[in-house]
Symmetry: C2
């Protein structure tokens, strides 16, 4: 990517203006279904753009501190309206850039979810329910959660609306908590991101919030991304993406004590107890195949690891899933990189002892991988448990067939942190002891413990936890979904000691 004339590419948004980027190169998105470059050209910014963005965001903090929650709410609502007004253009663009289907995925699910999140964040900005004020008049001492400072957001490839760095949950909650944002687009869908950012910009101008409230860059090289993560002007860093990139960014943020909220890796174990297999194995096989192939397995909560107790019935279920995997079309993956990583990850699982049940190779249509089912014994898993619990992001599933309860508990006991863990059990109450054994091993390792349904599907609810212990995320106390809790990621605790009323933030004054 040699440096080129920046007039050939779309401008970035920094410091209240769409301006020519200071480019180190340019890129185009690729149509995942055909492999062709799409027409719009976007800048890879030099560090100088990040520097401008950091200064603009840092200076925005002071202004934003005095702005009422209702103004943030007005911006977020008007932005949601704008997204709805240009919904069809957004959907068509996202479909082209990601190969995910317009219907039902974008039109009926992801876009309404995105505007719903923006509106829920607006309500939280308005009702200030995230702030937890405490007033101790005896000690003349008050504390409250306050905005943490500029939030850098790097969004993922797999949700071009709901987790986009300029429209997703991180953006909505960082803004609702009063923070300026520095968003970096995912290079797989820059035009979707630009259309969203333009909608946000129109809403921002109309709302009267400072025009520095958010900045948009399209790409930074790896070193500049790491440099951004360790910049002391940042208040927090939000990242959704691969474990490799997340861990590298987290290390930089950690070094300077900047809170890092990363969603990085999750194999979402599904444990199917023998009683459930006996009772409704066929139905579970259907659910599992549907969940595992949804979005070509490119959901944060896709099931990647399934634990079964060795038996003929279990073999029948495994077989039924494999047949469904073979019979289903192989969906396009989001990018050529995703396919290459999936191929590498599946090869690594096989090297570590997993056997191929079906798939495990590139498929015919462009940018697809065969729907893949692998298996390993509980003993085999325990021998190479680190390697065998590595995420294979995409349409691949690893069954672990255990010899009994003890082995199951040992397998679950070596798992790292996950977003979800699921247990299917018989409904007649005959395997509650086994349920408790398994739940006891899973609970400390997962953010959300699920019973008798598949993990794909993340309700937008105040009770949701889309989080979990490392490496699922960077901190097990916080969630990326669920308002107002998800706003609290972007706050710091502030305390006022002996400060007279007229100098206090309004929420703490009597």
């Amino acid at each position: 990517m040699p440096a080129q004339d920046n007039a050939q590419c779309h401008p970035v948004l920094i410091d209240g203006a769409w301006r020519s980027a200071q480019v180190s190169g340019m890129f185009r998105a690729v149509d995942p279904k055909r492999g062709d470059d799409l027409s719009d050209q976007y800048p890879m910014s030099k560090w100088a753009d990040a520097e401008l963005a950091l200064n603009a965001a840092a200076s925005a903090c002071t202004q934003l501190r005095d702005i009422e929650g209702s103004s943030f709410a007005a911006f977020l609502r008007s932005y949601a309206d704008n997204i709805e007004s240009r919904a069809e253009q957004l959907i068509a663009t996202a479909e082209k850039e990601t190969a995910l289907p317009a219907e039902p995925r974008f039109r009926s699910v992801e876009l309404p979810r995105t505007t719903n999140q923006l509106r829920l964040a607006a309500s939280a900005a308005e009702d200030q329910s995230w702030r937890s004020p405490i007033i101790d008049t005896d000690n003349n001492l008050r504390s409250v959660l306050e905005p943490v400072g500029p939030v850098a957001i790097f969004g993922p490839n797999n949700f071009p609306f709901a987790f986009n760095s300029v429209s997703g949950g991180d953006f909505a909650t960082a803004i609702a908590a009063g923070n300026p944002v520095i968003a970096k687009a995912h290079p797989a869908h820059p035009t979707t991101t630009r259309l969203l950012a333009e909608s946000a910009w129109e809403a921002l101008v109309a709302s009267g919030l400072p025009d520095t409230s958010f900045q948009l860059l399209y790409a930074l090289d790896r070193d500049d991304g790491l440099r951004l993560a360790q910049d002391r002007r940042l208040g927090a860093f939000a990242f959704t993406g691969s474990r490799e990139a997340g861990v590298a960014l987290k290390a930089e943020a950690d070094r300077v004590g900047t809170p890092f909220f990363g969603e990085m890796s999750s194999i979402n174990p599904v444990v199917i107890l023998p009683g459930a297999i006996a009772e409704r194995g066929e139905a579970i096989a259907d659910e599992l195949a549907m969940s595992g192939l949804m979005g070509t397995g490119q959901f944060c909560t896709s099931p990647g690891l399934v634990v079964l107790w060795m038996s003929d019935t279990s073999e029948a279920v495994l077989d039924a899933v494999a047949r469904k995997y073979q019979a289903s079309p192989c969906g396009s993956l989001l990018t050529a990189g995703v396919r290459d990583n999936l191929a590498t990850s599946v090869a690594a699982l096989i090297e570590a002892g997993a056997e191929i049940v079906c798939g495990a190779g590139n498929a015919e249509p462009h940018n697809t991988f065969k729907n893949t089912v692998l298996r390993v014994s509980g003993e085999g898993f325990l021998e190479r448990s680190e390697d065998l619990q590595a995420e294979a992001f995409g349409n691949a599933l690893l069954f672990v067939v255990v010899r009994g309860d003890d082995e199951a508990a040992r397998v679950l006991g070596v798992l790292g942190g996950n977003l979800t863990g699921t247990i299917y059990a018989s409904t007649d109450g005959t395997e509650e002891d086994r349920y408790h054994l398994v739940a006891s091993a899973l609970r400390p390792r997962v953010g959300r413990l699920i019973n008798d349904k598949m993990p794909t599907g993340v309700a937008v609810s105040p009770a949701m936890n889309h989080g979990g212990p490392f490496p699922a995320t960077g901190h097990p106390h916080f969630t990326a979904v669920g308002i107002p809790a998800s706003l609290r990621r972007f706050t710091r605790l502030a305390c006022y000691d002996n400060v007279p009323d007229h100098r206090l933030p309004k929420i703490l004054a009597l």
Copy 2:
């Protein structure tokens, strides 16, 4: 410290028993006032002891999960009672090991504070106010804060009761939130720690909590400390101490995604506006000298940096403080290491451009350092701001004399995170604009913003924030003092999706 016969030293408490340590060496505490070794001998444990402690704590988690809050409360209250029963022995021992005064410090302040914290934590364990349950019946989704897992606690040298790893705020809140503890004593006061741990042990046995609920080691070498911090069996790490040790431990915990709550460094800037100087400069000089020399400057919230506006009146205040510093006795420092570090830190400040007003050298009585006042211009500070804001833990104070509001704002603008920031302003309302300029620069950099009083003194109140941005602590969202908020450090968010009532934690069942 060569390996020796472990019969010569006190046992450690691991896995429900006081047992001979697996020693790599032994140590005795030193009387800070005389430099003599005290008689009791304590073990430096090999890694094998840490390994045993980790396994015991990990297995305790499962048992603790099913225990009612009232049982934790009973333990904490009975422990507080035991401390009161042997108060005089504890006070005499702590006085010998730390050279801090029995009265008022230990008898009237720190010991009552410690038992108060234990009882407040007991109430929080009982009322479960830290858990924030959310029940969404529409989505059949529930979330709640749960214990995070084994908590390693490394306590500091400066509060042998209130921040001791077996009796302080970290211990009380980690236990109240249902976590097993692995405590490491501070080697400056092992006998105080042993007496506390014995009191805790008696209470534990009486309460019926699992006997693995806490473990006590006296010392680990540096490499084993770092190894402990990166052990995946830990749920969280709590540290109070030097920045150097804290940052090293934090890096290891961060690498494996273990939440690290460190209180590491704070110079607690005090800004005295010209109006306050003119109105009551003499009184402020008194307060400053008293606060700065309290506990020989060895408080987490000791003022270390004072900003004054250049004027004759400011010079008079600076001069008055220096006279008081010279006239006051030089208190014993906690250890020879503290004195050496203070000498090194003061020398580094001088090398970076600070001028000596008074002190800056070892004093006559054993283990004392001359009460030290340094000064630098605002311009000089800005040239070497990283070096000049390094903490000099002990009885040393650096004045920064600025030329006006702009320079003051620039000086404050380059400060890192601090526990507290204080502003003295005139009481007649004539310098509110200047107040807001200064407060605006300080607010994002401090955990607690104080008006018109010195920062020493940390009220135990739900509204307290004893925290702040890095390097004051490891995460600006959390506080180490203030119940129930301080319990939340030792929790993870847990969510239950479609889990039937009989399998839910009680607090989430309908």
